[in-house]
């Protein structure tokens, strides 16, 4: 149903649509669970070094170094420890975790087991949104099969390492993609974020050391452990190693998932998706509606953390929504802020009121009923949200609006009476 393309050799999509996702034997035939077998012969310390050397960064949006996260959790004395797979994908324009889970569930399961072995966790949850029904069905089967084959359970493959994995369904709230809100959800509470520090690797699920990783991040681990960090670093560029999935939607001729090694140009990715549809390129929303806005004259840029950092952008969770020149930036911003106003959990004041107030102003501007004072207020509210919100939701909600005020100032002003 969801189509995909690849630039170069894929790491994450290597099995997709080639093997039967409901067959563990098919996964094993392609070299599946070999990384686990190899890992069990080594010490967790050696493996941790390998992950650190790979310089793998979290693929959920924040880009935190995975190895450091593992190290913090590994160093905690308290037990039991937990691994949580964050499959609460909710960013508008993002569907990469869905495609991995539906088409290659064992890749994520193997990744979770490896993470658990490294940090010394005996329990893990895959926290997934309830409407990913096909993914849940396939994961359930995959987990059952992994137990049967002895890859999960007590004394995995005859070692003294035990790990249990279970699916935990959520009930559909965007905020639950935030790691501490996700933990609250697993504990059966309202999905409101916790105060950090302590961070989850110190005190996470039920107050115990927990690593929360995005689906795509964990899907990289079997490759890193099996082939080694040297091989992994052949993909991508300095500071941004490996490959990344991008979800194409909006005004492009072809929509779907593209896997690229870091360092490919943004313009090249758009061309691979058949170019802009219905007009000329106006801008790209990169990394989701909480991500960044790349203007048409900036798209000739390499997609990696360092290059994108120069234009205050980042790969984020890997979303590319292309806007053509017939799109009204105010209309786009209205849609984005309406989303955040609906999804704000209500815990903190700047986000709860800020999203609502800025939505109203944008709506007023779109209807050409606003004056310059409203525009100043919008900017002020957005900056307050960015600086004072409790969690990532409120801090990143005004990103696109603030960047568009800079990059498309004339267009905003043309709506002012």
């Amino acid at each position: 149903m969801i189509d995909f393309k690849v630039i170069g050799t894929p790491i994450l999509l290597r099995n997709i649509k080639k093997i039967d996702p409901e067959s563990i034997e098919a996964y094993i035939e392609t070299g599946g669970y070999e990384a686990l077998k190899k890992a069990l012969k080594k010490s967790p310390d050696e493996l941790l070094e390998e992950v650190k050397k790979s310089e793998l960064r979290g693929r959920g949006g924040a880009g935190f170094p995975t190895g450091i996260k593992f190290e913090i959790a590994k160093n905690q004395k308290e037990t039991p420890k937990f691994v949580v797979v964050n499959a609460e994908e909710g960013e508008p324009g993002t569907f990469k975790d869905r495609i991995i889970l539906e088409n290659d569930p064992h890749l994520v399961i193997e990744g979770a087991i490896l993470a658990a072995y490294i940090i010394g966790a005996n329990y893990g949850y895959i926290a997934i949104r309830p409407d990913y029904t096909l993914a849940i069905k396939r994961l359930e089967k995959a987990i059952q099969d992994a137990y049967k084959y002895g890859f999960l359970g007590d004394n995995i493959l005859g070692s003294n390492f035990s790990f249990h994995l279970k699916i935990k369904r959520g009930a559909g709230a965007y905020i639950c993609g935030e790691e501490t809100a996700l933990l609250e959800m697993i504990e059966g509470k309202r999905g409101e974020p916790r105060k950090k520090p302590p961070f989850p690797p110190q005190k996470g699920l039920y107050g115990k050391p927990t690593v929360v990783n995005n689906v795509e991040t964990l899907a990289n681990l079997p490759f890193i452990i099996y082939y080694g960090s040297e091989e992994f670093k052949k993909y991508g560029v300095e500071g941004s190693y490996g490959t990344k999935l991008f979800c194409m939607s909006g005004d492009v001729s072809w929509k779907g998932i593209i896997e690229i090694p870091f360092g490919v140009k943004l313009s090249e990715i758009i061309s691979l998706a058949g170019g802009v549809k219905g007009g000329k390129l106006k801008a790209v929303i990169l990394g989701g509606v909480s991500g960044s806005l790349v203007k048409y004259d900036e798209v000739d840029i390499e997609v990696d953390y360092h290059s994108l950092g120069r234009i205050q952008a980042g790969p984020g969770c890997g979303t590319i929504i292309v806007l053509n020149d017939k799109r009204d930036i105010v209309d786009v911003c209205e849609n984005i802020m309406r989303f955040f106003k609906d999804e704000s959990c209500g815990k903190c004041f700047p986000c709860r009121l800020g999203t609502e107030a800025s939505y109203r102003i944008i709506k007023k501007i779109k209807e050409k009923k606003a004056n310059l004072h409203d525009l100043f207020n919008l900017e002020r509210i957005c900056k307050t949200m960015k600086n004072a919100s409790f969690c990532g939701l409120g801090q990143t909600a005004p990103n696109i609006i603030l960047q568009s005020l800079q990059k498309f100032k004339d267009e905003w002003l043309s709506h002012i009476s």
Binding site: P92, D131, L323
Partner: protein
Amino acid sequence: MKEKFFQKSLIEDLLDEQNKHPQKYLPPKTLKKIAKKHKRPIPQVYSVASFYPRLSLKPRAKYIIRVCENLACHMEGAEKVIEAIKEFLNIDFGETTKDGLFYLEKSSCLGLCSLAPVILINDDIHGNLTPEKVKEILKNYIEKEKSSKN
């Protein structure tokens, strides 16, 4: 620990109980039952149930239509599709049709942006929609319902 680990969470129990109800919601007596099972105060269970968009405390319908109007769907004309649904079924968001068959609600991104505009009817995905297409789909559901009654 192991026993606790494999237990269903409060949210999962709420989801499953809701699915069992013909009107897909959580009446007070269900909340009481679940509160007892999880040894949690009823107000706390209520506060959880009222937080999550997928849980409902008011009666809905056999088929829940969840429409996405976030950016990717919005750009492909989701509003027109939604208008067509509202007009065809004569309901607004948060309302049930008179025959108790359909309930319409807004949803956050469904993670199907390459199929925009997209809706879910219960768990079934309907993508690449136009106002005409969505009416056809709804007609099919109504037909199916009629024939199953006869």
